[in-house]
Amino acid sequence: MIRPFGINEFLTILYATQWTLLLSVIALIGGGIGGALIAMLRTGKYKIVRYAASAFVVVFQGTPLLMQLFLVFFGASIIGLNVNPWLAAAIGLTLHASAYLGDIWRGCIESVPRGQWEAAKAVGLSYRTTMFDVVLPQALSVALPPTVGFFVQLIKMTSVTAIIGFAELTRTGQIINNVTFEPFLVFSIVGVIYFCLCWPLSYLSTRLERRYATL
């Protein structure tokens, strides 16, 4: 049942791009929340919390994303939940992104000189005021370029969810390839779509980096 590669096949692939984008955005938001938490815990007061947060980062950065997705996917059924690929992909990517963003943002928080913390303490500001009104506003401008850069990574990472059967861009490419048998054409188109999503963001990230570097 081989059929030629026509406009419909192209549109199917293009249409699947929305799932890639949606998953990337979900993972960015989820990872953003998790990452902010990790970053704050890692720069916080309590040693044991700092260690726990670091351990989380080390484990999720030190193991393949595919394994994390597998473990979420197969692990959920063990505790009796029937998780579909959608949810498994979203959870796996969120955890993965939390670790990376937590690490990136910790660096940004630490880039604010220690003396500012001490100064804030000296004038009697609370931890919350110091964090939110003194440190974070400065850390945010440092954090923007690497965060945009990481979003590019995240978009590319979503392709791995194709392996657990989530029908995003890459998986749809595989499915279309199975019926048209035009692998070079199909995967080139898939690649071009990813490139169109990622390259402008990469470019933006480099531009931002240069701008903040000259500040």
Binding site: M67, L71, I155, S188
Partner: protein, 244 residues
């Protein structure tokens, strides 16, 4: 193609149903222990693939650095385009193009060779970019000082530019290697015989998917730590000379 995940998981769910609902899942690591040697053989191939890819990647990066400094403009354009294309598309798509796409233009490679080719193609772009940053960090005065001392162009490039550049980006290179090794799990999608593909095999044979992937995750983690500390030790050996 390997057995689909969903099919394997439905079997996994059946097991849960068989032993009682939900939380009473019994871990069956005993089903998997026997396959650990097989998994280690897969891990060895993972290491081999990523090592060879990294070595070739560094060589390509050095060649690109030379071309960027002394080559014609069109070559610089090609290198930049290559780096941007690889860095802005997912590795999985790159493997699919290499493994499924290339045969249609007459280049037929077996899974392991395809995997090696795709890994090399991928990592070379990243290393090229890392090395470029390293070379840019070498002050121009240093090159000029080398020329003033009467060193030849090649000598200046190797000892005055390349070596300090590699020294300054060495940490980035080693973490790139670990990333490459972790990323290589994705090549299981074309059924090469590396660690993850073997794990998939064992999982579909024993139906103990979760247990297998836990073990494999630990193996990847251990490999990452082992290589990180090995590279850190190596750096003390290689770059212990004073540079100021």
């Amino acid at each position: 193609m390997p057995v689909s995940c969903e099919w394997r998981r439905s079997l996994c769910c059946e097991r849960v149903a068989h032993w009682g609902a939900g939380v009473n899942y019994q871990f069956r690591f005993d089903l998997v222990w026997g396959s650990v040697p097989e998994l280690l053989v897969g891990a060895l191939l993972t290491i081999q693939l990523s090592m060879i890819a990294m070595v070739i990647g560094v060589l390509v990066a050095v060649a690109s650095a030379v071309a960027r400094m002394a080559g014609p403009t069109w070559l610089k354009w090609i290198i930049s385009a290559y780096v941007e294309i690889i860095r802005n598309t997912p590795f999985l798509v790159q493997i699919f193009i290499v493994f499924f796409g290339l045969p249609s233009i007459g280049i037929r490679l077996d899974p392991n060779t395809s995997a090696l080719f795709a890994l090399t193609l991928n990592v070379a772009a990243y290393v090229t970019e890392i090395l470029r940053a390293g070379i840019e960090s070498v002050p121009k005065g240093q090159t000029e000082a080398g020329v003033a001392l009467g060193l030849g162009r090649i000598q200046v490039f190797i000892s005055v530019v390349l070596k300090p550049a590699i020294k300054s980006v060495y940490p980035a290179l080693t973490s790139q290697y670990v990333l490459l090794m972790l990323q290589s799990s994705v090549i299981s999608a074309i059924s090469a015989d590396e660690l993850t593909a073997i794990a998939n095999d064992v999982a579909s044979r024993t139906f103990a998917s979760f247990e297998v992937y836990i073990i494999v995750t630990v193996i990847y983690f251990a490999m990452g730590i082992a290589f990180s500390s090995m590279f850190a030790g190596l750096s003390r050996l290689l770059f212990s000379y004073p540079d100021r």
